[in-house]
């Protein structure tokens, strides 16, 4: 059995800021929970896998998010620079 965790980061207008990040993790079959004596062991298998996947998927999604932030800031700053250089040219002439 698998658990799929997907992270979507969306803008206010519901458009996607980054592409979705997905991670899959193997989890125990329902049949593995045969009784109280194996519950801890089986659930531990589930919990460790899920924690790792959760951290992994959020890490990847956050990297994408920050890359998008950096990209936007870079383009904003280059627009500003262009505007400033135009202003400078005007003041010189």
């Amino acid at each position: 059995m698998k658990m799929q965790i997907t992270v979507n980061i969306k803008n206010e207008d519901n458009s996607e800021l980054t592409e979705p990040t997905t991670m899959e993790v193997d989890i125990p079959e329902v049949e593995a929970f045969t009784g109280p004596e194996v519950f801890d062991e089986v659930f531990d298998h589930y919990e460790r896998g899920v924690l790792e996947a959760r951290n992994g998927v959020v890490e990847k999604a956050t990297e994408k998010y920050l890359s998008a932030v950096a990209k936007k800031k870079r383009s904003q700053s280059s627009i500003c620079k262009e505007e400033n250089s135009l202003k400078d040219q005007k003041s010189i002439s």
């Binding site: 109280p36 519950f39 801890d40 531990d44 919990e47």
Partner: protein, 439 residues
């Protein structure tokens, strides 16, 4: 499915997990008044009323963080790490209870294991052998260092010793165990912590005469290959039984060679060792550091002035270092009465030497031969298992609180904690500790 009435109980079973606090629906199937299925009984581990079940990951985080920091701090850290909501916060008292519960279960598991091992090897629960003991004493007295090696070491030492202190190497033959031919090297010691008061002092009541202490007995066992294992118990008597079972289950009792104990010379400790291990020849060595300390303490109270004390101490230790206890006693008896402040302490020191005469070896020769002269591994284990966590300003402990923390710390140092968390069992073997020496 099985027929009968299906009852759903929403969010009835609560699980404390690292992924969060999980409120799980439970189901019951009833046939008439008879419960034929219950998720609380047939699927989830049983819990007490209002008790939350704790997952392995959660227990690993909660229980073992308490071995390193105070309960309040570890509760704060856990709540922060797990981002617990206000109503789901774990309280420090819960942490303390969790530690005690876990340690009680470990102690019960060890007790059961010990009983089974002793029974399998024809020992009673008190450690008395009911079968043939001859196989345990195999080559115990022959497993000593060769005459050539001892003579060579003695010769090297004598080159640096004054004439009156020359070693009689012949008399020392057979006293040094061959480190490759020992069953195990065992260091045992007690470690004391301040005891928590049961209740506050009442007005007008007499102050307590003696500070009450909580005692933990710690043992450090080293195999000839160097693998180690540490264990703690509440009493020395218990420790000896657990130790015997550990040696039996690891096959060390039938290994040819000697069992060597290192102690601080405490009478109860010596008595307990002799009680349980009397059926086989073993060697007991008084730790050099404790012998040195004992001399310092007694002479400080016995001699007039620091300078005289230091002179006597230097001379005394020089005799003891080469194992000449008789000469040390003669020297103490020859001290000038004018230099002595309190002769009672001199007599007490002589009494201490006489009592421990057979446990004082020639430390100089042992050191020259690369053999151990002290019980320092257990002193280090005391720090790691008890003192580092329990001996700080303002800390005082209940018996169960102190033993619980020591038990859990020792479980982790022996690398047995994952087996315990997953299967509520311990290996009770050196193998687990091989990767991570206990001290």
């Amino acid at each position: 499915m099985q027929g009968g009435e299906l009852l759903e109980r929403p969010k009835e079973y609560i699980i404390e997990a690292e992924v969060g606090q999980l409120e799980v629906d439970t189901f019951e199937i009833k046939k008439g008044s008879r419960k034929v299925f219950s998720t609380k009984r047939n699927l989830f581990p049983e819990t007490g009323p209002k008790e939350h079940h704790k997952t392995v990951c959660f227990r690993e985080l909660a229980v073992f963080s308490c071995c390193e920091m105070p309960f309040r701090k570890s509760a704060e850290k856990l709540n922060r790490t797990l981002r617990r909501k206000e109503e789901q916060m774990i309280q420090s008292r819960t942490m303390a209870n969790l530690v005690e519960q876990e340690a009680e279960a470990i102690t019960a598991c060890v007790e059961n294991k010990v009983k089974t091992i002793l029974k399998c090897h024809d020992f009673t629960d008190e450690g008395v052998c009911t079968g043939d003991t001859s196989r345990y004493g195999l080559l115990a007295n022959e497993s000593v260092l060769s005459k050539e090696r001892v003579s060579q070491a003695g010769k090297e030492l004598n080159e640096h010793l004054p004439k009156e202190r020359q070693l009689d190497v012949e008399s020392l033959q057979g006293t040094c165990e061959d480190p490759t031919q020992v069953k195990a090297l065992i260091s045992v010691d007690d470690v004391l912590c301040k005891k928590q008061k049961a209740s506050g002092r009442k007005r007008g009541s007499a102050p307590q005469k003696k500070k009450e202490r909580v005692k933990n007995t710690v043992a450090h066992i080293q195999k000839r290959k160097g693998e180690t294992y540490t264990m703690t118990t509440a009493t020395i008597a218990q420790m000896m039984i657990v130790l015997l079972a550990f040696l039996l289950s690891n096959g060390l009792m039938i290994v040819p060679g000697q069992l060597v104990f290192f102690t601080d010379g405490a009478q109860d400790l010596l008595g307990a060792i002799q009680n349980v291990f009397a059926f086989l020849p073993f060697k007991l060595i008084l730790d050099w550091y404790h012998l040195d300390k004992k001399c310092q303490q007694r002479l400080s109270m016995a001699m007039k002035g620091k300078e005289k004390r230091n002179t006597v101490l230097q001379e005394l230790l020089a005799w003891l270092w080469i194992g000449k206890v008789d000469q040390a006693i003669v020297y103490l008896r020859s001290l000038h009465p004018d230099d002595i402040k309190d002769a009672e302490h001199i007599e007490k020191l002589i009494g201490y030497f006489s009592r421990n005469l057979s446990f004082i070896p020639c430390y100089a020769l042992r050191q020259q031969l690369g053999l151990r002269v002290s019980s320092n591994p257990v002193e280090k284990a005391n720090d790691l298992l008890v003192s580092n966590r329990q001996k700080h300003n303002g800390m005082s402990w209940s018996e169960s609180g102190s033993h619980s923390l020591a038990t859990l710390t020792s479980l982790r140092r022996n690398d047995e904690h994952m087996l315990w968390l997953l299967h509520h069992d311990i290996r009770f073997q050196f193998d687990a500790a091989a990767q991570k020496p206990a001290a």
